[in-house]
């Protein structure tokens, strides 16, 4: 099991997201949180769809290289985007932008794509995980009620699937649920196992 194999590493998660921290904890992995560094999250327009979160998680790994002070340290970085109508929805900057984003998602399918990078002094591996999410037609009342009460300004696409809007609004998903919450835990577990096995 991963829990045994991973014991020889000190695992560092480079994410301040309480949801990601909670998910990694519940996966049964002991880890430390790397001190926050500001990473410029700009990306070139040459990147498309899943290339964007992979590029960004890789860029975060570059920024956090100083964490890898010894051979027994393992760094995890991640980036999540919401992809709809050939464009990325980031975090809304205010109430109006959150409402616009939720109107875009209403009655349609979008994709939540997470890019993850695993790194040690020896090597680095990146992968992505995508989940399709279908929202019902949300009413103006439901959207405004959610934004005013849940203030989803720290969430890409302006919603949390684990919050009220996810309960009343998400008709179905295809893929990993936990990926939409913030971290594709099953995929991460299996990628960590392979990564560690290949290091020996």
């Amino acid at each position: 099991m991963l829990q045994e194999k991973i014991k020889k590493y000190s695992v560092y998660l480079a994410s301040q997201s309480p949801r990601r921290q909670e998910l990694l904890k519940d996966l049964g992995v002991d880890f430390l949180i790397a001190s926050r560094l500001d990473v410029d999250e700009q990306y070139s327009s040459v990147y498309y769809k899943e290339e964007i979160p992979i590029y960004l998680s890789d860029k975060k790994a570059d920024a956090y290289m100083s964490v890898l002070k010894s051979a027994d340290r393992l760094l995890i970085t991640a980036d999540t985007i919401v992809w709809i109508d050939e464009q990325v929805l980031g975090k809304p900057k205010d109430k109006q932008e959150a409402i616009i984003m939720l109107k875009m998602l209403s009655g349609k399918k979008h994709e939540v794509i997470t890019g993850i990078t695993l790194a040690t002094q020896q090597k680095r591996h990146s992968f992505f995980c995508s989940t399709e999410v279908w929202f019902k037609n949300l009413s103006q009342k439901e959207i405004v009620y959610y934004v005013e009460n849940y203030k989803p300004y720290d969430k890409a696409g302006a919603y949390g699937i684990q919050e009220w809007i996810g309960y009343i609004g998400v008709e179905k998903i295809q893929g990993s649920y936990f990926n939409v919450v913030g971290l594709p835990v099953q995929r991460l577990y299996s990628e960590l196992e392979k990564f560690i096995d290949s290091e020996v």
Copy 2:
């Protein structure tokens, strides 16, 4: 919004499941828990697949009819089954049975099907919701570790998707995640809206 429409009712949930109670609460519905009644959960072999949880939720509504003492009361009953290889997995009676069930689910797709019945003095409406769940190949170690540490004896199919085994084992789902946890909240929300609208 449902929250306004449902105010004229006293809602009773006939389920002792803490997961169902939590999900209904997070949906924003105020409700009371109907006192436990023992319902015989036997069913005839004429029922197949989704007919089984629909029959059982309907049977529970029969048993709980005494809750509907006045016209403003609304009863919700539910039953969930795990369906794999043309058969139903119920709750495992001991460690050995739990291990056998998880070995059946390992490396395969199964369906989690919930039947729900809404009832007032005036009328009754039943529906079902099905979610497909894909497990990776679980190792013997992973199965035994989970059963010994999580004791899933109160869960159909011997697993909780929101527990460690769901984190490491569920590769993907298709449908509603919350249905697998215990209650298809989005569908219930929309069915409650329609049910109440049609009562006026």
